[in-house]
Symmetry: C2
Subunit: 125 residues, 2 copies
Amino acid sequence: MSVVHHFIKKTNAYTWENVDSTPLVVEGIKGAVKNILIGDNEGAPHFIMRYFELESGGHSLLERHPHEHEVIVLRGEGIVQIGQEKYTVTSYDAVFVEGDELHQFSNPHDEPFGFICIIPRLDPN
Amino acid sequence: MSVVHHFIKKTNAYTWENVDSTPLVVEGIKGAVKNILIGDNEGAPHFIMRYFELESGGHSLLERHPHEHEVIVLRGEGIVQIGQEKYTVTSYDAVFVEGDELHQFSNPHDEPFGFICIIPRLDPN
């Protein structure tokens, strides 16, 4: 089913029409909310578009897995660690994290840091 | 190879470091520029992230093909036709165009209309 999810402007976290915002309660993750913009609900067959928002001081897991990430930053500024390197990224920067690379996203700033992160389907991470 | 392409702020078309901007000279396409943010050059294995910008009056092909599109709008406002429906979309709206749906993106406004569009790999369209 083709679908349009209109963006909802909010003063705090970004949200979309008909898309759930799910705080991630997972050991090793802090201050992170996940929104699946295009996934199972829409019948996406090959890859899934998620939006993650990290509050001030928040971070994703420091992790490594076989699948890649394709990322485009939408708001704020943050840090992405890839391997042993750390990169400062800001709105509209594009990041490719190759499969099996150690990586982590973190937000050391006062403002929210939000980014689109796409993964291949059939993998929940 | 993991990579970061930093966004370059420009008054006119959006561009990224180390990413070519290619005007599309194709019958049925008008005023469109393509940027492959994450693709063959980065070794993306499963899906390709492109940024398209349509100038005022520009449009993509009215087309139908087996592969899907996952889209997130980055700038301006435009129209996406899916089947016989037309939707107005603006920054950060997310659009899923299912495979085999007739579709077209167009910009009837004065300002540029730009969006990320992801496709599965092994298909050049």
